[in-house]
């Protein structure tokens, strides 16, 4: 295993020596790194210079008990053939984070626009955060954990007075 993960370990060493953070090697071609909000842009620029030029996806995970949103940036390097994931946590009540558009341009812009609509995360520096999928939506951001879809569908579509649908209400 040592020789097959040689280049992944080199990347981890480069990142941890510059940013003082721990990199986790999950298996070959998969590295996971966690950082804080302030050093996110610096780490992204450093990663891009190392060769991680393809932003595969940006995702948000909702942790309501902790009160945070966890952002994950998945980066692929065509030259090194490694996937690097950068994770960072932001406050859930006031979710703002710097946009990575200066690093990955339109690719990042569209991902951030989608996450803004579905989770309500503000990306500072992204001018175009208009709604993408939903038209005239006035409810809460739909993908958050406190919006229970099954309850809302039950209330909207199943009729309490209908005998045959009584089972859904018990």
């Amino acid at each position: 295993m040592a020789e097959t993960t040689h280049k992944e370990n080199k990347v981890i060493d480069k990142i941890s020596s510059k940013f003082k953070i721990e990199g986790k090697l999950q298996r070959e071609r998969r590295i996971w790194v966690a950082t804080d909000k302030e050093s996110l842009i610096a780490l992204c620029n450093f990663a891009k210079d190392l060769g991680f030029e393809h932003l595969s996806a940006i995702s948000v995970t909702d942790w309501p008990e902790e009160g945070t949103f966890e952002l994950t940036y998945h980066l692929w390097s065509y030259s090194e053939k490694i996937l690097l994931t950068i994770k960072t946590k932001i406050d859930r009540t006031n979710p703002t984070v710097d946009s990575v558009i200066p690093v990955w341009e339109e690719n990042a812009q569209i991902h951030e626009r989608e996450l803004h609509e579905l989770f309500g995360v503000e990306f500072k520096g992204n001018e175009d955060l208009a709604p993408l999928f939903l038209e005239d939506w006035d409810g809460p951001p739909p993908f958050r954990k406190d919006f229970d879809w099954r309850e809302s569908v039950r209330h909207r579509y199943y009729d309490k007075a209908n005998e045959r649908e009584r089972a859904y209400w018990d």
């Binding site: 595969s56 995970t61 879809w149």
Partner: protein
Amino acid sequence: MNEKELIGTEQIEPITEGETEYDFYFGPAHSGSGNFGVRLKIDGEKVIAARADPGYLHRGFEKLMEYRVPMQNAVLSDRVCILEALNWNLVHAEAVDELTGVEVPQRARYIRVLMAELSRLQSHLIWYGVMSLALGFDTGFKMAFGYRDYILDVFELITGGRVYPAGYICPGGVRKDLPEGYEAKIRRVLDQTEEMMQKMKHFDNVVFARRAKGVGVLNLEDALRLGTTGPVLRACGMKTDVRKDDPYEIYDGLDFDTPTEKEGDAYARCLVRGKEMEESIRIVKQVLDRMPEGKVREPAKIPPPSRVKIPEGEVYVRNELARGEGCIYMRSVGGREPYRVKIRGPDFLHMIPVLEHLLKGAQIADIPAIYWSLNICPADMDR
């Protein structure tokens, strides 16, 4: 009903007097488009600006998966994009397998690759049919959909469903073993597909050459900046394939090429897909020759859903779909359902930034050629 509410022209600047510019909505019911809208600002016959209008198919797929256990998600995962159902099945199954750490048996891996490559073949045939229809080559449409039906017969023989295999590729392997006589049938289908490719001259025909050459040119730098993947990126000159760079299942043991072209226009994309179909046929033949014996699922008896828990962890799985790079990020906290699933489809990038970039400066008559040469699937974008 107020028409202005439907179209929503407030995102485009208003037209000033004396100019020849006008707004045009290339909409969901137009025969040249799929169920996806594009707002265009046009000057005469030339497009100046384009803005994509997605959302006609948004179901909130990722959160639907949070309510279901992995075996149910296996059935739901083929509906991310109907045109390549088995490929999405495979992505989801790999994500759950990596989380649970199960060792998928070799025979199951070979069967998975077999189904994925057949699904890639039929997806390229759909693309060829619809592209021919858009460019005015009706024979191509009839041939493609006629020959595609033979592949769907194979799917029906093996999985039970023509388009939706009901989660045939499930976490742990595949649902059931291959039936009798599958090999002869698949070889016959491959011969028929090759016959069709011969007749259609490997997608290199005069209609495509006249209407798709020089249209929708995408250079490599823009492609990388906009997040393009798959055949669209290979047609710009970049030799990359997830099956070779980030191998999954048994692809590192198989022998196949990565075709590329240099021009980056719609015609180059057609040629790349034609060559990819030949490579897929090659892969299927190798898989059939080497198919091992053994179990097809680990564990062999599926335990009841109330007893299965996904161990805690997170994974990111990348696969090469017919359209590009399809990925799933799955996070679990040890419960029965996944905590968060993020589905990244290739069309999310192809239909919004890349399409807006390519439509700028194009003629109206070329819009179907550009659209369909990107091989878009709106369901994959909206999820």
